[in-house]
Amino acid sequence: MVESIVSTGLAIGCIYALIAITYNVMFSASRVFSFTAGTLGMAGGVLGSLFIARMGMPVAVGFLLALAGGAVLGIVTEVVAVRPVLKSLDQHLYVLSTLALALMVQQFTAIEWSTEPQPFPRLFDIARGGFDQQFWLPMLACAVVIVGLELLYRHTLIGHAFLAIAEDNYAARALGLPERRLRMASFALAGVIGALAGFAGGEMLLAFFANAPMLTFYGFVPVALGGMGNNRGAVVAGLLLGLFQQTANFLVGGIFASVAVFTVFIIVLLARPEGLAGSGLRRHV
């Protein structure tokens, strides 16, 4: 039993962590939290199921197409819901514009795909074992993303440019960095990461439109607790969240587990609004 809680908890935790990283990648590029983060995860699962199970494509092709779909959705988010409201960041219009876009995608999926959860195909044709692919796939995806991002940020020119924009947007633009193109690239990257989360966790979460709001919320918990923009904090908080949720699931049952997660989330946030790892000094005047 403990073994099952740990493997499920860690796997789900990895998915939450990936969605949290999706939030962070978008946030670094634009100072905007987008409600479409969970929608990207949902899209990864639905597109994977669509391409592989329904249209019968090879796994590799379906995988790449699902990621491409996520990238497109990320770019659409940037163009439609983020760029037009960046001028007036202090009015927080982005909260509404990204919520609107997330709802549109979610409803479109519900109507055109299905309102019921659809099965997600098994990716590797190997027998089910104790430590099944539905558990290690999300973990592998999470590890790949963390290592990949680290390499990208540390060792490539475009990664340095991303960091420069995240650090100081105006200065980066003054240096002649193509801020707009880099922001679009960041959103495309976030789209790929979000879709990867949904794809890797497809077997667990199924291809279901209502995963969007669920992932939007649970994916944000690690962002808030780990400190915004802090990917390492997000991974740790994501894994803890997954374990906590599965334990609560086992002890008090599914619905009260979500009540427990919510309560802990609120209490921790009220006690430390800047997250467990963050530090905040705000300039008011």
Partner: protein, 601 residues
């Protein structure tokens, strides 16, 4: 001169008051008549739609104060509708205890709703916008899940029967009038709040939080009260909703409803009552004309939300605001009337001196101020000058309570001032202006100035809600004082203009008028002359001297040497967070180090 102004001013303010009250009440009266007469033309099904619009408005009217006025993005407000619906239904049906009369059940639901409104709202006091939005969303999901799971009470997925209100409200039209009456009362109450110091304070929290704090507005208490009210009416709406549906299941309370409420407010426009009211009616009626699109309704709402945010962030209210589209006079001068200052400020109580003793503060490795001594005395203009980064604004921020000094103390009349309690400064009659004017752009100039007098109102939130005599006295007093303050700074002709249409220099004088509303013992001015023309600076000098003559201690942070040397009684020169020199303007002007470091030549 003085008597002339006395005769002039109140009559003008009165005339404006009457006209605007009548003008704004007209559309409400029209809707009231249509609403009362509705059963004469409406068929049975339209009766249901009209009742539903009333029920939704009861909720939206309260949410409007949270979203439209206070600017808190509370997306999951449907949770309170759910709570109210289940509380009323369960208590009236007697699932858990002996059945209660529906009215009592509805009243208990209101109390429960108020409590949970506060609980949902609390995070808004601590958290950033997106965090708050997502916690309300999470709360909405949780409430629905609990309704689904708690079968013994809520009936789970099967649901529970809604309450039936006894005669005369049991028939369709009887129930309609019941809901319509409540909706009308909610409209009246929220309109009262909107026109009160509480409504103005909410918009100040939304658009100019630091100015709200500087005016003594306590955000936690005010927002808490609004969340209580908003939660209560939302739960009442829930009880009515359950009765209208006659049977409720958790499916009835989807997030779509939340989105609908939210859009109604956005379509209507911020800081408006009539706009969101129209928005609610529109959104309730619209789907009836688009039956084939029912499956797509949420999708279309989302599209609508996106379009409003991107195209008309001001909503209907701004589209209908013809008055503010008339061009303003382009050649207009600010002519202050320093002679009015004494009447405005009255006899200043002797506040002693405001002193800084060896105050030090560093940010990371930067020593912003390093052992600063300062004494601001009543009736004097004290200049604080120095190069950029020498710690001038930081000094102001320490006095205003934005930063806690790491060493040293700030004292008022010998007593140490509480650290970091920013809104308490106004109660000590310490007012300030800001380097970039902090103004509520969508409110009129007069309303902006009235914000400055918020703490001088005597009535409570409930009195304002019901427009009791004390509320009306407060409003008349604040309006008169604000008109006087505007006349004193020379802006009374722009009183009814939207503040975001003013020029930069006019905003600076508006801020001074707002600060004067506090009848300050000490007035802290952060570069008031920045961006002003030479003429305007001269008029500002006269105004500031008059303020000091009335007994107020003025701390003037400035870069304009002329202004400083013309009007200051005493000047402190800062460099790298330390006092470089202090003395009378004449002494400073001949101080060699100051001339080298700062004045040049």
């Amino acid at each position: 001169m003085d008597t002339q102004a006395t005769q002039l001013r109140p009559s003008r303010a009165d005339a404006r008051g009457t006209v605007s009250t009548f003008g704004t009440a007209l559309p409400f009266l029209a809707l009231l008549i249509v609403g009362i007469a509705f059963p004469l033309f409406g068929g049975g099904y339209w009766g249901v739609i009209a009742t539903r619009a009333c029920v939704y408005w009861v909720l939206v009217s309260g949410l409007n104060l949270v979203v439209g006025f206070a600017g808190q993005i509370a997306i999951g407000w449907v949770a309170l509708l759910t709570l109210g619906a289940y509380t009323t239904s369960v208590l009236a049906a007697g699932n858990v205890m002996p059945a209660l009369p529906p009215y009592l059940a509805l009243a208990i639901a209101a109390v429960v709703g108020a409590f949970f409104g506060l609980i949902i709202g609390l995070p808004a006091l601590r958290l950033r916008t997106f965090y708050f939005a997502i916690t309300t969303l999470g709360f909405a999901t949780i409430v629905t899940q609990v309704a689904l799971a708690w079968q013994s009470v809520t009936g789970g997925g099967v649901g529970v029967a809604g309450p039936v209100f006894p005669e005369p409200f049991s028939s369709q039209w009887g129930f309609y009038y019941f809901c319509f009456g409540l909706a009308a009362i909610c409209t009246w109450m929220t309109a009262n709040i909107a026109a009160s110091r509480f409504g103005r304070a909410l918009t100040a929290i939304r658009d100019a939080e630091v100015a709200a704090e500087a005016s003594g507005i306590a955000k936690p208490a005010l927002l808490g009260t609004v969340f209580l009210f908003s939660g209560a009416v939302a739960a009442v709406a829930g009880g009515l909703f359950a009765s209208l549906q006659s049977y409720i299941t958790p499916d009835a309370f989807t997030l779509d409803l939340s989105v609908l409420f939210f859009i109604a407010i956005l379509i209507g426009g911020r800081s408006s009552i009539f706009g969101p009211l129209l928005g609610t009616i529109l959104l309730t009626v619209l789907p009836e004309f688009a039956a084939p699109l029912v499956a797509w309704s949420t999708f279309l709402y989302a599209v609508l939300l996106l379009v409003i945010v991107l195209v008309i962030p001001g909503g209907i209210a701004e589209l209908l605001d013809f008055k503010n589209r008339r061009p303003l006079e382009s050649e207009r001068a600010i002519i202050p009337r320093p002679d009015l200052i004494e009447r405005l400020l009255g006899a200043a109580p002797d506040a002693g001196a405001l002193t800084l003793e060896q105050v030090a503060l560093s940010f990371g490795g930067v020593q912003a101020i390093d052992g600063l001594d300062l004494e601001i005395r009543p009736g004097r203009v004290h200049g604080l000058i120095g190069p950029n980064g020498s710690g001038k604004t930081t000094t102001l921020n320490v006095i205003s309570g934005y930063y806690a000094p790491q060493r040293g103390a700030v004292r008022l009349n010998g007593a140490a001032m509480p650290v970091l309690a920013r809104h308490r400064r106004a109660h000590m009659r310490i007012a300030r202006t800001f380097q970039t004017p902090r103004i509520v752009g969508s409110a009129s100039v007069l309303q902006n100035v009235m914000i400055g007098g918020t703490i001088d109102g005597a009535c409570t939130f409930v009195e304002s809600l019901l427009s009791l005599p004390r509320h009306r006295r407060d409003e008349a007093m604040l309006r008169d004082t604000a008109m006087l303050a505007l006349a004193a700074v020379g802006l009374e002709r722009l009183a009814s203009v939207r503040a975001d249409r003013l020029q930069h220099s006019e905003l600076r004088f508006t801020e001074i008028a707002r600060a004067l509303m506090l009848r300050p013992s000490f007035l802290l001015l952060d570069e008031p002359a920045a961006g002003l023309s030479v003429d305007e600076i001269a008029r500002l000098s006269g105004l500031l001297l008059a303020i000091a003559r009335a007994g107020t201690g003025v701390l003037l942070v400035e870069h304009h040497p002329d202004l400083i040397f013309d009007i200051c009684h005493y000047v402190t020169v800062l460099n790298l967070g330390r006092t470089l020199a202090a003395g009378t303007p004449a002494e400073i002007r001949s101080h060699r180090e100051v001339v080298n470091a700062y004045l040049g030549g």
